[in-house]
Every structure is written in structure tokens, then in C-alpha cells.
Symmetry: C2
Subunit: 242 residues, 2 copies
Amino acid sequence: MSESRDSHLHIGILIYPRMDQIDFTGPFEVFSRLPDATVHVIGKTKEPFRDMAGLTLTPDELLSEAPELDVLQIPGGPGQEALMDDQEVLTSIRRQVDAGRFLYSVCTGALICGAAGVLHGRRVTTHWAAHALLPYFGAIPVNARVVVDGKLISAAGVTAGIDGALTMAALLRGEQVAQQIQLAMEYAPDPPFHAGTPASAPPEVLAVVARSYRKLVEARTATAERIKAQHEAAVGHASGAR
Amino acid sequence: MSESRDSHLHIGILIYPRMDQIDFTGPFEVFSRLPDATVHVIGKTKEPFRDMAGLTLTPDELLSEAPELDVLQIPGGPGQEALMDDQEVLTSIRRQVDAGRFLYSVCTGALICGAAGVLHGRRVTTHWAAHALLPYFGAIPVNARVVVDGKLISAAGVTAGIDGALTMAALLRGEQVAQQIQLAMEYAPDPPFHAGTPASAPPEVLAVVARSYRKLVEARTATAERIKAQHEAAVGHASGAR
């Protein structure tokens, strides 16, 4: 039994404008059912905002005032781009990792974690359309739905956040508790089609969806290149200063 | 091709206090990706409220002002009890069915639909812990994750709403569109455990979860009995008046 299983858990999820809401609400559904745990819905402000599809979300707590968190979750979505240089967010992520606590990235939340510089040499997954960007941040891309690398857990795109949260629930409170949550959520998924990954989707379906992501992927690639250069310059500067 | 595929779709989801948020946010994720469609997030008031686990949700539109909806979705959760006698809600559900438009019930949203009197003789599913209540409303319980009975679609518990919404996406816009949405959401679920249904869960897991529902099931059963008596009295009254 790890120490955390015996004490009250604090799980924080950072939410932000133009995120993909289910990257948050999927894991929230799991985490909010954990015994002896508090889920902190955290924002940079407490103002209501809209997700990428227009859903109104409202944080309860400020990132600047968040308690020490056993788990910090970073969801994804197109709004992630606006956080890639956000020092408050990036510092919070680095602190979480430096303190040896769980960091849980869902979907393109991994890119924000990459910008924070905590993915170097770590095994990571993200949304399939962003997978090729992981090496810019020094990460080792893993083509899996959920990847556990020590206290860094990452989930693939969007709905993978539910599978990752159940994996985390087992890490935090044991398998029986995770199974209880799965049963309560009646999580016995049965998609009516088999098109959930680039490998399983019909080629014409993949073509349409990949095309719809082209502009966003271009923007994210440019950001990743820029941040890679920044990180390299910082390392060069640090070695030069020695 | 049905008429609705050629025209703009209006999909309304009723949200309410102490609902289970993912009954709403799961299908919202699917419906909000449909081409040429508007998702209306509808409440009895526009005030923010909390779901059963404390998540703040905010409706955009009043039920009393909602447009004609191609789909009306009714999610579930413990807050469903408070709507079982709500004439505004029950009338809206009846109007939807009378107009020959889609009604989509998720989880214990089926009980609200039952209270509206629209389940008589219809094939319906709901959360496993509420399945035994369906006959009180004259419904034919079907042990399936998603049930399509004409324009009445029902999904089983909680996360089944995602599978049902993808089924509906195909009904509304065709299979290819539904597959595109599935791929964008990377919905290739891979639960870490096999405990998502009473049949697959270990007996000790089922025992704990069933026990946790006992009080809620008792309350819902009492409500279902009361409403059944009301419906029977109304039918008796109607025949007596003839």
C-alpha cells in the first residue's frame, strides 16, 4: 500500500478556454467517485468560459491558490496552444513533477506538459493527430491508449481520458475500487463502429478527419519547433554559463 | 435519406441539478461534432448548478423557450427524482414524442421519460440498477447498451450515452459521419478492467456497488409506484368519462 492510499487525496484538473470538455469531464466522472478524495476544478481565473464546442465550464479554484495535489491533470484541445508559453501553468506542472507527485496528461494536454519540459526521456502518448509532435519535447512516443511511466501517466485522444483515469484510480486506491467505479459508470463500452483509431478507421474516414486537423497540426508544429529551440537555447545557455 | 439529413439539426439536452454530468457531456461531445447542427444546452432556469459530484454546469437556453428539436435528450442521475412530477419537463417530453421527433434517454433519464408516460409498450434500457423499474412505466426492459425503438433511443447507464450518441449520429447524418466523429474522439475504448456490468464484475464488486445504490433505488421505486398509480387512475378516469 502506498502512503497516498491511506490519506485524503487531492486531485486537481486544470481547465481552460477552448479545451475539449470531455478530456476533463471523462476523468472527473471517475475521480469524483474515488473514496476519501477531493477533485479540485482549477482555472487561471474563476470566470466561466466556453470549451471548443461552446460548453460553459466554471472553475472552482485558482491555479495560484491550489493546494498540494496528489494528482495534477492536464487536459487537451485546441485551447492548449494558448498555454504553451504560460509560465504560471508551466511552473505548476514542473513543481508537480519535481515534488514526485502524479502528473496525468490527457490528449494534447501532453503538449503543454512538453512545453513545461517534463517529458524528456519519458514514455508518452497523446491524440493520434499530435503523436508526431512528442519528439520535439524529447518524449518517447508510445502508440498506446494509456501509458504509465512512473508518476507520469498519459492518455491518448479525448475519450482515452476515461481509461487513463480508471488506471489511475487503481494506482491510487487499488483495483477493487477502480472496478467499483467502472461498474457504477456502467463502463462496458460498445462502440457501434470500429473507427476509433487511424489503423481501424476506413481510409476515407481517416482522410476526412486528418484533413480537418491540418491547420491545427500546422500551428502546433510551429509552436513545438519554437519551444524546442527555446529549450535548446536554455540548455546551451546553462552549459555556456558553467 | 431522411429529411433531417438535409436540413440544419437542432439537438436539445436538458440538464438539471444533481444529474450525472457525463450523461450529458458524453453525448454533447458527439453531437457537437455533427455537421450542420446546433446543440442546445437547456435548463429550467439559466442559473449555474452543480451535478451530483459538484461539477458546475450552466444552461444556455430555457426549456420554455427551446425551439422545435430534432432530438430531445434526457440524461439521468439522482437529480432525476426531482423532475418526476415536473409538468413543464413531462409536457416537453410528451410533445417531442407526439411530434414524431427523436427522444434520447440516457441512464435514469428513462425514468423521467417513463413519468411522462411515453414508454408504454416501448423497448427501453436504462442503468442496470434501475432496470427493474421500467415495467412500472409500461416499458419493455431490454438488457442492451443501446436500444433503438423507432424514434425512441435509450442508452444504459452513464457512459452508455456515448455509444447511444454515436448510434444517433449515424441515424441523423449517416455512418460515415458517425465514424469520423468516433475517430476524432479517438473512441477505441480499452477499459483496464472488465467490471462494467453486473454480469462481468466480480461478485464482491457488484455487492459493494449495489449496496451503495440501495437507498436511491428504494426512493426511485416508491416514486415509480406512485406514478404508476397516478397513470392508472388517469386511464381509469378517462375511460370512466367516456
